[in-house]
């Protein structure tokens, strides 16, 4: 309880920052993926586990690509707000 809307924004910003600073090489080696994921990674929905991992990796990669530049702006604004207004 005691949530304000600002804390949601802060939490979202921190999560997206965490996604943005992931190291792709270590992540991929940890998940055991290789470079041919676009050909063999096609799993229809009947496949039990492959689809979820693929979706997650696609999501992470797309978030990193899209949010790279706006994230810089958001971080600068948030840092300024926190420095000035506490």
């Amino acid at each position: 309880m005691g949530f304000s809307f600002y804390s949601v924004i802060e939490a979202a910003l921190l999560c997206i920052n965490a996604v943005a600073i992931l190291n792709e090489q270590r992540l991929l080696s940890r998940f055991g993926e290789s470079g041919n994921q676009y050909t063999t990674g096609y799993a229809d929905e009947f496949h039990q586990t492959g689809g979820a991992k693929q979706q997650l990796l696609t999501l992470i990669r797309s978030v990193r690509t899209v949010m790279r530049v706006p994230l810089i702006a958001f971080n600068i604004v948030t840092i300024l707000f926190l420095v000035l207004f506490g």
Partner: protein
């Protein structure tokens, strides 16, 4: 119970013979409004077979009721297009028990709203030399699709509330469709809406303030805090559920807007549990009502969402094969989150 997919209920609406008397009230040529026969034809089918599908009549839904505008362009021959589903047909307003919610119509059916928009557009054009569309097309589309969820009337609200608190009667849970679009909630009791979740969320904030007041813990900031925490928890829940839907790659008929509506029905249960605590001030009664509300809400959600999340195989394949297991888990996740939230959002108000 046979869980079929969306039933294409073709409704044979008799065109009333008194079509010619209506244009005297409007400035438009007589258009075929939806005239329900009482009782609703769908209400007679209870959890049984539907027999042969009735022929569907696609009448063309004419212009808007109050606003002198050209008829909406998309889905001209749809029975209920999103823009026109909102307005109650004129014959229904003579029946006092079926009046549409008075507050909701003023914003959208006010002709001055459109006039104001046009004036602002004209002003912007004179000022900048180019026309800027004040409401882009996507916003107009989303506004009209949200209007669908507010097309309710009192009979629907009453039936839905009774259903939320006692869903255990055998009945038909499938949604009605007409011309490939879901029928607005005014017609079909099973359709999700936004009116009940919105109003019950606001009522929950007020009831929470009341409970705090009886315990001498009330300050006006508590109301704002409860309201913001309601919104925040809703946002978190919807985000988690949408994320899970995306990760599991589940293609279902359930739209995000529908999911928001279904997740908002728990506030009714919260209000019921809190009011029972208010009346009796006993922890035992509160826990019993919490249990009952959780059970009935879970049953209600399972019955509603089963037809939308799980694929309609018609019973030809056993459950648990193919991708069904993931969908079942997803359904269970949705259903288990609700009682958890009910308990979590009310427990700080209970003091013994």
């Amino acid at each position: 119970m046979s869980s079929r997919g969306p039933m294409r209920l073709g409704k044979n609406y008799p065109h009333p013979p008194s079509q010619q008397q209506q244009p005297q009230q409007q400035q438009q040529p007589p258009s075929q409004f939806y005239q329900p026969t009482a009782p609703y034809p769908a209400a007679n089918n209870y959890a049984g077979d539907f027999g042969m599908p009735q022929p569907q009549i696609p009448p063309s839904y004419g212009g808007d009721f109050n606003v002198p505008q050209p008829p909406p362009a998309p889905s001209h021959n749809a029975f209920f297009s999103p823009q026109t589903a909102f307005y109650a047909p004129p014959s229904q307003q003579q029946i006092p028990s079926n009046q549409a919610m008075p507050g909701m119509e003023y914003l959208s059916s006010n002709p001055l709203f459109n006039v104001g928009l046009n004036v602002v557009e004209q002003g912007m054009k004179d000022f900048t030399g180019k026309t800027v569309n004040m409401l882009p097309n996507e916003m107009k589309k989303s506004i009209s699709s949200i209007k669908y969820y507010f097309a309710v009337d009192q009979a629907y609200v009453f039936k839905k509330l009774c259903l939320l608190l006692f869903p255990f009667r055998p009945r038909n849970w499938s949604l009605g469709y007409s011309a490939d679009e879901p029928v607005p909630p005014r017609v079909d009791t099973n359709a999700p809406d936004y009116y009940i979740p919105l109003m019950s969320a606001i009522t929950y904030v007020l009831v929470a303030g009341l409970v705090l007041g009886t315990q001498d813990r009330f300050t006006p900031e508590q109301l704002g805090m409860h309201a913001s925490s309601v919104m925040v928890w809703n946002v978190i829940e919807i985000c988690v559920l949408c994320f899970t839907f995306y990760i599991f790659n589940v293609q279902s008929k359930l739209r995000t807007l529908d999911l928001i509506a279904y997740c908002g029905y728990k506030y009714v249960g919260m209000i019921a549990a809190l009011s029972s605590y208010l009346l009796t001030h006993s922890l035992f009664v509160y826990r019993c009502s919490l249990l009952y509300v959780s059970l009935s809400l879970s049953y209600f959600l399972v019955k509603c969402l089963r037809l939308q999340i799980l694929p309609d195989t018609g019973g030809s394949q056993p459950y648990g094969s193919n991708g069904n297991k993931r969908r079942i888990y997803l359904l269970l996740l949705v259903v288990i989150l609700q009682p958890f939230f009910i308990w979590y959002l009310t427990r700080h108000l209970i003091v013994d």
